[in-house]
Symmetry: C2
Subunit: 85 residues, 2 copies
């Protein structure tokens, strides 16, 4: 079955807010993930403010953050989620 | 030339100290990096204390941390490097 040949990928969400710390982390870490296993979505919370609540539910407290397999990883520190509401 | 077929990989160093925060980050993030492009080395600073200075020179201030292309990324917070000397 041709349509089943694609391997099921894990969703990886990278939340940032456009600050220099976030952008540097985004470019290196999000791009370093294995594209064969991860489907990476970059979310700019400064522009997509309606997704702040979603990030918070995933355990994100500051950006930049990577949510991998449902677990939030805070990378360095750019801005608190509270600053983005 | 057969011996040049291997693509030059970027070195990725993952420093941790065996704490639960570090181990969870290690298993998810270090394993998520693209093995085709990154050569990942896991360094347990609690056991390899002689490498604390090397981590510090790379900009690591706390563990777990990932050094990717010479840039240090602190992931969540397990322990300060000072606690590992």
């Amino acid at each position: 079955m041709q349509e089943n040949r694609e391997i099921m990928k894990t969703k990886a969400l990278f939340y940032h807010a456009g600050c220099p710390v976030c952008v540097a982390a985004e470019q290196n870490i999000a791009a370093a993930l294995d594209p064969a296993r991860y489907d990476v979505e970059i979310v700019h919370l400064g522009m997509d403010k309606h997704r702040v609540a979603e990030a918070e539910r995933a355990g994100v407290k500051s950006v930049p953050a990577l949510v991998l397999g449902g677990q939030a990883y805070h990378i360095n520190f750019g801005a608190s989620l509270d600053a983005l509401r």
